[in-house]
């Protein structure tokens, strides 16, 4: 490759770096501001004094969270949920995507199943019928209500299915010649070459399950069963809205006490940490495990 070393390339590079770095900062600074707020004292935050550096450094917000039993209960519910959901999602996605990746000649009723899942992806029963179903199944207030309704993420199934379709046919044929059963083909051939795609859907599953607060809000009837994001959501109430709707003085006072912005910031920081930790582990799969080089034509 020829690397130009004249002025115009340098300027071009400078402009590109400038744009990339400023876009990066635009994404990063608000997050950093939240971190700074979480380490500042309440009155400094209320006075809008905190920018990128904590003002009147204080860890009081974090100490308060440490004492909040419900926060940690919710945290562990969310961790359980993510683990169960991830395992369930990956198993079901793979088991569903593999047969669907076969042609109609190999798998006769493929298109019927395909149409059903696409229909289910586009249309749902609506909130109240779903709620009634869940209630009648006695799933309210169990961990399963957080996991089962979303156990088969159709979008991810289609993604993996298309990835399987793209896997060279000769790989499978080679395995058949070696006497592998369909299950062996799936687990020994398809999955190892599909790790980047699986890492992607795993990330979808983790992030989606961790961040989802709506399911908890609807199907959990007791606060003690709230997952973490639902709990945080229930605490961060817009005091202006409450004041406008004329809540009584005691309620306002109670909310003002938990409503200080640095406490909320600290909760947001703590609740993002798990995702920040998981990402680097998954990232290596995006680089390795590529199909290229597995077959020689």
């Amino acid at each position: 490759m020829i690397q130009g070393n004249n002025l115009s390339t340098k300027i071009g590079k400078f402009i590109i770096y400038f744009i990339v770095i400023s876009l990066g900062l635009v994404c990063l600074l608000p997050l950093w501001n939240i971190v700074a707020i979480s380490f500042s004292s309440g009155e400094a935050v209320a006075a809008n004094l905190v920018g990128l550096k904590p003002v009147n450094f204080s860890t009081k917000a974090y100490e308060m969270i440490m004492e909040d039993a419900q926060f940690w209960r919710s945290f562990s519910i969310s961790v359980q949920r993510v683990v169960i959901a991830l395992a369930l999602n990956l198993i079901l996605i793979v088991l569903m995507a593999y047969p669907l990746s076969k042609t109609k000649r190999e798998f006769k009723s493929r298109n019927i199943y395909m149409n059903i899942i696409i229909f289910a992806m586009l249309f749902s029963g609506g909130l109240i019928p779903t709620f009634i179903v869940i209630r009648n199944l006695n799933l309210l207030d169990t961990i399963w209500v957080l996991v089962l309704p979303g156990a088969v993420p159709i979008f991810s199934v289609i993604l993996i299915m298309n990835f399987f379709v793209g896997v060279p046919k000769s790989l499978e044929e080679a395995a058949i010649i070696d006497g592998a059963s369909p299950l062996q083909i799936l687990f020994k051939v398809y999955i190892p070459v599909s790790l980047p795609a699986l890492a992607t859907v795993a990330l979808f599953s983790i992030v989606g399950n961790w961040n989802d607060f709506m399911t908890g809000l609807i199907y959990m009837t007791q606060v003690s069963n709230y997952p973490i994001m639902t709990y945080i959501q229930s605490l961060t109430i817009d005091i202006a809205e409450l004041v406008r709707s004329g809540t009584n003085s005691d309620a306002l006072q109670n909310i003002a006490e938990v409503q200080n912005r640095n406490l909320n910031a600290a909760k947001i920081v703590i609740s993002t940490i798990p995702l920040l930790l998981i990402y680097p582990f998954l990232q290596r799969y995006f680089v390795t495990g590529i199909v290229v080089g597995s077959v020689k034509e």
Partner: protein, 557 residues
């Protein structure tokens, strides 16, 4: 060929049959129909509206705490939570319960939900149990409002719900930094009647902007929230309601005029005059130049920074809004005044007297338990003196000490006599004058407050911010209300309280938005004052007239 396609569908059919079988198996509902526990206690499933910051001691929950245990012991019941949630989330749970046809035995609902429930015949008639079981104190409490809370829960002569109350109407107050007034040697309110005029307010604001007593380097005038008006006393923080009331305008209120007609306060001549003053002030810089774009948090920041020292708001704003000011500046003190009109009167609208409602599911066997709980929580516990509290309800005495809030009670509503705060103020004063001891005060909450007040009065510098807040809301805020009541300065406007009419539900949102936007335009001078007449016309044509008709119709009933 046919056989082939059947084969294709076979797994589907099997699946379908299986699903039907499965659902048939688990048809039983979560409410498994148990009504008594093994030891003979009545089970009550309650929809619980809860608060955010409950301060419950370790191990206690909303379902099992000192209040529920006391109720279980006194009334022989077993309280279970059908669901618990706060704010909007609670409303959603109630909506889900109503639409899925699985009501808890008792729950707290809004006026609109109550109407729905009555229309669909889903709740029990409580007339008889109320008459038979309600204590005299509870009945007297409702009587202090001329029984309006009961009338609001009565449909075709049947009492369908037990009402919460909204205690006391009051003027929106002007809170001014007292330490700054002293620093600049400003005297307002020379007569000491706690009343000020618009001119006096303007002068103070000018002096604050000129001298910057907060040393902020960038003083701004009086901050107002962009929504500018509130139709509810509790929501009147940073609004211009008190300025409008000087001209007898009561924005955001549906009012009953002396001739019996219904008007909307925002379209009144008084509101127009108030907007004129606001516009004038905006041009002079008396009002925050960035008015309209500041968020609620930004306004709080102005106060905390010392950029401004004047605000409008309800008596309880020191409790939840101003504490950061004190935390930032230990010497900060506020004085509260009311704005008076030319004749020296304070114009106030009457607050709705009814809060939310307790309803009992149709067919529930023990509706009397709801009334008995009312007696226990809003009569017996409220009227137990300190000394007896330790013996009768030791756990609850401890809760009060910790400041555990009311949402831990089975019903998160308030039932207090009208003018309660004035009585409380007199109790507090009596203790400060040493005519009474703290132990003699019946209301446990007031007992808590007074300790803070005494702490602040003895050592203002070292007192906790909580005590600072208690002093400001109870002594300064209630004190102003008490003074004005004693001097008989109030001029009441009768408000038409009807909840939501059908047109309101459809159009109120848009009308309010239009009102907010047009008022901002007038105040900032983007439109001339005469634009107000255009607004009035728009308001009438876009649904306002229909609303007035509906309000009138509903009041006639």
């Amino acid at each position: 060929m046919i056989a082939d396609s059947f084969k294709e569908f076979k797994p589907l059919i099997v699946l379908l049959v299986l699903t039907i079988l499965l659902t048939a198996c688990v048809q039983s509902s979560s409410n498994d129909g148990e009504t008594t526990t093994e030891d003979g206690k009545t089970i009550i499933n309650i929809g619980r509206s809860i608060g955010t910051n409950h301060k419950l001691p370790e191990g206690d929950t909303f379902e099992d705490n000192a209040y529920t245990r006391a109720a279980e012991k006194e009334l022989d019941i077993d309280i279970r939570n059908a669901f618990e949630a706060n704010g909007e989330d609670y409303d959603r749970q109630v909506a889900l319960a109503i639409s899925s046809g699985d009501l808890p035995d008792m729950m707290v609902v809004s006026r609109e939900e109550l109407k729905d429930l009555v229309d669909n015949d889903l709740i029990e008639d409580l007339s008889e149990v109320y008459e038979e079981h309600a204590s005299d104190y509870i009945k007297e409490t409702y009587a202090t409002y001329d029984n309006r809370p009961l009338a609001d829960a009565t449909f075709e002569d049947s009492l369908m719900a037990l009402s919460g109350t909204e205690a006391l109407s009051a003027p929106q107050m002007i809170w001014i930094r007292e330490d700054w007034l002293e620093e600049l040697d400003l005297t307002i309110d020379e007569e000491g009647d706690r009343l000020i005029t618009l001119d006096e307010l303007e002068k103070v604001a000018e002096a604050f902007i000129e001298n910057d007593p907060g040393d902020s380097g960038n003083p701004v005038g009086i901050p107002f929230a962009s929504f500018l008006n509130a139709g509810d006393y509790g929501g009147s923080a940073f609004t211009m309601n008190s300025i409008a009331s000087v001209f007898e305008g009561q924005p955001r209120k549906y009012l009953i005029e002396e001739d019996g007609s219904i008007t909307y306060g925002s379209t009144s001549e008084g509101t127009k005059q108030a907007l004129e003053v606001m516009n004038e002030w905006f041009n002079k810089g008396i009002i925050d130049p960035q008015f309209g774009t500041r968020s609620f948090d930004d306004i709080m920041a102005l106060l905390t920074n010392g950029q401004t020292g004047i605000l409008t708001g309800p008596w309880h704003i020191p409790d939840w809004g101003l504490s950061t000011v004190r935390e930032m500046d230990n010497d900060a003190r506020f004085a509260a005044y009311a704005l008076a009109d030319d004749e020296g009167n304070v114009n106030v609208f009457e607050q709705a007297t009814t809060g939310r409602f307790i309803v009992v599911r149709k067919g529930y066997e023990h509706p009397e338990k709801a009334v008995q709980m009312l007696n226990l929580f809003y009569d017996v516990m409220l009227n137990t003196k300190e000394a007896d509290m330790e013996n009768t309800f030791p756990e609850i005495a401890e809760y009060l000490e910790r400041g555990v809030d009311d949402s831990t009670k089975p019903f998160n509503i308030v039932i207090l006599p009208n003018q309660k705060y004035l009585d409380d103020y007199q109790d507090v004063q009596a203790v400060l004058d040493e005519e009474m001891t703290v132990g003699e005060i019946t209301d446990s909450q007031v007992r808590q407050n007074i300790n803070g007040i005494i702490e602040y009065m003895e050592t203002p510098e070292d007192a906790l911010t909580n005590s600072w807040s208690n002093y400001h809301s109870r002594i300064v805020g209630w004190g102003l209300m008490n003074k004005l009541t004693e001097d008989d300065q109030f001029n009441w406007a009768e408000a038409a309280y009807v909840g939501n009419t059908p047109t309101m539900e459809q159009k109120q949102g848009n009308l309010t938005k239009m009102e907010e936007e047009d008022f901002i335009k007038i105040v900032t001078g983007a439109e001339p004052l005469d634009y107000f007449d255009v607004f009035v016309e728009k308001w009438q044509n876009q649904g306002g007239d229909e609303i007035l008709d509906e309000v009138k119709e509903e009041l006639a009933q």
